[in-house]
Symmetry: C2
């Protein structure tokens, strides 16, 4: 039975003003509309109507996971240290893990994701290739001690996630499990009404060979993605690969030093020598897990430390400080060159073998030209590390890439055998020999999807939920003081509820019609049914929240309209 929810008895306090610390629309509006309440930094309470939003997203996720044969389980959030020690994540996750001890001093963590425990569970439960493939999932609180929790429920430290794990005997099996999840995710986001793009991504600390992200384009997003206007290519900018033309065959003269006083920056040097910045090799010194390294990129490009960190994850990456130079006289600030440098040298693929550069001479006030990659210096590791810019060539077709901001709402990983290797997860194969299992893992941020929807669908008047996620189908507003207005509003609400329509009715006394309208628009239920002056004649207004288009109808017509199909 569907119940009528009366606002007069609902725990709900809407706010006229934005919370002081709110930077994003979802944060502002979810708080103002009474859906969520902050309990601590990055830790949120879901109030009654907010809980419905969360439940609606979770229901869609469960239905589509069940449809691909997923089996729902529930693992603990409080996890013992040992399996995360075995996988390396106890250390790798660094400060991101919430760690604690029990009364006996045993160490625990609050699970960020559960690859380890799922691997152990399947090792325990499955013995034969006949027991596979299997897809397991859960909808559960996850914990990450973010350095800067912000944007409301968009990036919390406790958040609701659907995490799924596939277990297969063969690579083809993993490919099929991966495809099933990819398609299920498309259906989930379509049903939720969330505009999304599937992009190539960096797998990071999770491990595995390849991964894709589901990104919801939104200005408030923390991710940037590149999109090709000509072909199907799309990738998180972290994962965009440089399209590098092989350098023209050329014989370069020997390196030649240049007297370049007071040119410690690319701009001053380019001006002094009257060359384009792109002819200069810029060398940026960083610390990777504490060890100094240099990163080479063309002088007209910037180093993206976030991309570097993503590629080298879980290593921590930071810029060097002035103190680092003080202790290392061979590192001449503003005049570093890769030739003869005694630290690991990373470079962007544009610093290709055979290319010639102007770069630092490793002594003050001096640069050197005709320094050739492969002849005068070598690159220890190529990493795509420059800040991707609009118009950079698409690695698939060469067209100029477009960039957009987005929220990561899903991430699917071909993990392969990383965790199976860590825990010795084998099953008996068809030939009677043990076969190592191969895995995928697949996450959707359930609470984050609510925020992403708010970001994408809100307007200047408030939230505007897609029907599948909305806390109700119809918001009945009793807009008038007469007893007959309230009576008709409650009658209509009851009629709709009897027909299975989810109804809120604003029956609050002592609240003006204006406030009720403003609250209804703020809360964002898709359809408003307004009982006002026409009540005496049995007439009501049906109004679309998004377009604002309204129509006066008899009660019977309105109910028929709302219960059709």
């Amino acid at each position: 039975m569907t119940r009528v929810q009366r606002l007069s008895t609902l725990l709900l306090k809407t706010l006229r003003d934005d919370p002081a610390d709110a930077e994003t629309a979802s944060h502002r509006l979810l708080v103002r509309a009474g859906y969520v309440r902050r309990t601590a930094a990055g830790v949120w309470t879901w109030l009654p109507l907010g809980k419905r939003l969360l439940d609606n997203v979770a229901r869609v996720v469960r239905e589509e996971m069940d449809a691909i044969g997923g089996q729902e389980v529930l693992l603990p959030a409080l996890l013992p240290r040992e399996p995360y020690e075995a996988s390396g994540r106890w250390k790798d996750y660094g400060d991101l893990l919430f760690r604690l001890r029990d009364r006996k001093g045993a160490e625990y963590l609050l699970g960020p994701t559960h690859e380890e425990i799922f691997t152990l569970t399947v090792k325990d439960q499955c013995t034969s290739y006949k027991d596979l493939p299997v897809i397991l999932y859960q909808v559960q609180n996850k914990y990450r001690d973010e350095a800067r929790p912000r944007s409301g429920v968009l990036r919390g430290r406790e958040f609701l996630m659907k995490d799924a794990y596939s277990f297969d005997v063969t690579d083809e099996g993993l490919a099929e499990s991966y495809r099933l999840h990819r398609e299920a995710y498309v259906r989930i986001f379509e049903r939720l009404g969330l505009d999304h793009r599937i992009v190539s991504a960096v797998s990071g600390a999770m491990g595995g060979s390849a991964s894709e992200e589901f990104l919801a384009p939104a200005a408030a997003g923390e991710d940037t993605f590149a999109d090709c206007p000509r072909c199907a290519y799309a990738a998180n900018t972290e994962a965009v690969t440089a399209a590098v033309e092989p350098p023209a065959q050329a014989v370069h003269p020997a390196p030649c030093e240049l007297d370049t006083p007071a040119t410690p920056t690319i701009e001053t040097l380019a001006a002094h020598l009257d060359v384009p910045a792109s002819a200069i090799l810029k060398n940026v010194l960083v610390r990777i897990d504490g060890e100094i390294a240099a990163v080479g990129v063309p002088g007209d490009r910037e180093v993206d430390l976030g991309r570097l960190a993503a590629h080298l994850a879980p290593a921590e990456v930071e810029l060097v400080t002035a103190d680092d130079f003080a202790g290392r006289p061979e590192l001449v600030r503003g005049y570093v060159g890769p030739q003869g440098l005694d630290v690991p040298y990373y470079a962007d693929p544009r610093v290709a073998p055979g290319t010639a550069w102007i770069t630092g001479a490793n002594k003050p006030d001096t640069h050197v030209r005709d320094v050739v990659c492969g002849r005068d210096f070598t690159v220890d590791r190529y990493v795509d590390v420059v800040v991707v810019e609009p118009g950079d060539p698409c690695p698939a077709c060469g067209a100029g890439l477009e960039l957009g901001r987005a929220i990561e709402v899903g991430h699917i990983f071909r993990l392969g055998r990383k965790y199976a290797d860590a825990f010795g997860l084998d099953v008996l194969g068809p030939e009677g020999r043990p076969v190592r299992v191969t895995m995928g893992s697949y996450g959707i941020g359930v609470s984050r999807a609510v925020a992403a929807l708010a970001e994408q669908t809100h307007d200047e008047r408030g939230l505007c939920w897609p029907r599948e996620v909305a806390p109700a189908d119809v918001h009945v507003v009793a807009a008038g003081k007469g007893g007959e207005v309230l009576e008709l509003a409650l009658d209509v609400a009851a009629l709709l509820a009897d027909a299975g329509v989810r109804v809120l009715v604003d029956d609050r006394g002592g609240v003006s019609a204006g406030v009720k309208f403003a609250d209804a628009e703020l809360m964002g239920v898709p359809t408003l049914l307004i009982v006002g002056r026409g009540a005496a004649r049995g007439r009501v207004e049906l109004r679309d929240r998004r377009s604002g288009a309204g129509e006066e109808l008899t009660v019977e017509e309105a109910v028929a309209r709302l219960t059709a199909g």
Copy 2:
């Protein structure tokens, strides 16, 4: 749409043998039947069919909470220290709290229950008496660092709980909210098929004026309750009050010392003096939060330290050690008496004013007789502290009490204004003045209810679920090797599922009919439908799991039977 769950693809491994550490039936059987898996001490994974048990209990709880107007919310499990500091529970809960720090050093806890945060939420959301009463609830993981997690999911350190909180302006309002919950709980446990008793209880560290527990009688229970065979009285033994007759008016002679060498125990003293043990006043020395105190009880009764701790909660209570006597020569071991003793003196109500006793003389080898309570010594505080024994008089009617073991599955508290006082929770009253809010809190152990049901309903062959909680309605067993057996089993399962019946079908290849029957009985689905030799004739057997009674029917008859009403 109801789906057929095929065992061939289900993550399920049943075990023939009991887990080594399992002491209780629910622990043994839930593990063996593949419902749960241990992840750490007191921390459990719910496997696919176990998750259904949990969901079924939670669904019943939600439906009945909604029916009394409860509004579901979801609070975080990760909670900041400050509110628990304000209520006193950060300290009071001692080692029972899981505490942790974030990367900035701020202190958090994992919520054991959420009175503090609910109080703050209502303070934030409600401003007027018109906003009350309100009932809020959540179904959420709770955390308690038990000293001895045991009995499987019966006493976990992470466990699923429904906790509800009522907020009222008047005492009458609280009484009504309390009544609504009490009645909802009765409906919940009746629907779950859980035999239960409502008993008076000690409120303990939660605070408040009065509480009642819902106990599920079971041999594995950790609680003992007293039940009157004649009247309606029932109480946790912790809360049983002594029925004490006023002593006969008598003039006692002055105390007189007795030479009692080598009689440090009640038994040796009673034998030496040839008096009943009940004539002797036994004085037990304890430490209450570290301070020594004495507890007086009649010599034929034992002190129940658990009861004492429950009454003095959250104080920690422990017995004194030999070292305590070493440092306090005035405490003469075996010869302690309350007269002139310089420590707080607690006593059982049977040590009533006017009663005369033989007791220790506070010097070696000496007792004293005719020591009269109120004349020769005073009691600082009366506490019901003796071990309740079968036949003790009912405090309501005097009949001999019966005792039973039970599992606490629910606890309802009239909290009153303890938390509202701690956080200054007022609303504007009808006269325009602030009114302090009064609260109740109401808990049901959802995961524990699953274990309690297993304890109450299992038999020697395995689990035996009530239909509302069972992971399926019907367990179809394909008992035979012919292709027609499997085909018919799947056909029948599909017919039932189409009619909305929840079906498991054991379609596993290479598993004998005997193993399938044993697994079906272990797993405990209420009805077995066996497709075997009669398959060729279109006949199947319908068998009741509990009684074992079977009947051969045509497929049509069986389906009609299972889908009727």
